[in-house]
Symmetry: C2
Subunit: 112 residues, 2 copies
């Protein structure tokens, strides 16, 4: 598995950055637009955008004083989709322990 992809995934995995990416998935936005709907200070948003830029998740157009950000990496929408999906139940558990083919007891760790 490509390590760059995993790094990008890690970068994505932050509440503020997810919000930024979701907003960008609805269309191009400049930093002030992002400031408006997030309760986060400008400098911090800029820090997050810098991370997203460096990991090539986003890119931007400059128009005069504005930087208009947009999504660039095609994995990002896929990840957002997977995050938003409504999962109704757990994956089916295997019939029995396939290693020993014998009976089993359920893991106790599941409630922790």
């Amino acid at each position: 598995m490509n390590n760059k992809r995993i790094e990008l995934l890690k970068i994505i995995s932050h509440p503020t950055r997810i919000k930024i990416l979701e907003e960008l998935s609805r269309g191009v936005k400049c930093v002030r637009d992002i400031e408006e709907f997030l309760e986060v200070r400008q400098a911090n948003i800029s820090q997050h955008l810098t991370l997203l830029r460096h990991s090539r998740a986003v890119d931007y157009y400059m128009d005069g004083r504005l930087r208009c950000y947009f999504l660039k990496d095609p994995m990002v929408p896929e990840i957002l989709k997977a995050l938003k999906k409504n999962y109704t139940k757990d994956l089916p558990a295997p019939e029995c322990c396939p290693v020993t083919k014998k009976g089993y007891t359920l893991g106790k760790g599941r409630s922790k």
Copy 2:
């Protein structure tokens, strides 16, 4: 967006844990199986499995001395799929800066 999902995404985003999850996506495995194909010590694998258990990404069956781990959270395979997908090009960039509807220059930050 559900914060638990984002936390899980962050937990997933680690090279060793991705490898473990990929292996589990091929079928149930006990810890020793995982040790065999990863060049990581048992204690460390156990630490990663503990994280994955606590975030409910995986669960396990006990069979005597063996703990047979399997995938539990349905988002995990979706994320693995998104990671493995062969993305051939970037998302299409917007025609022009939609904020000002004027001409634009491309961001210089893209090469950093």
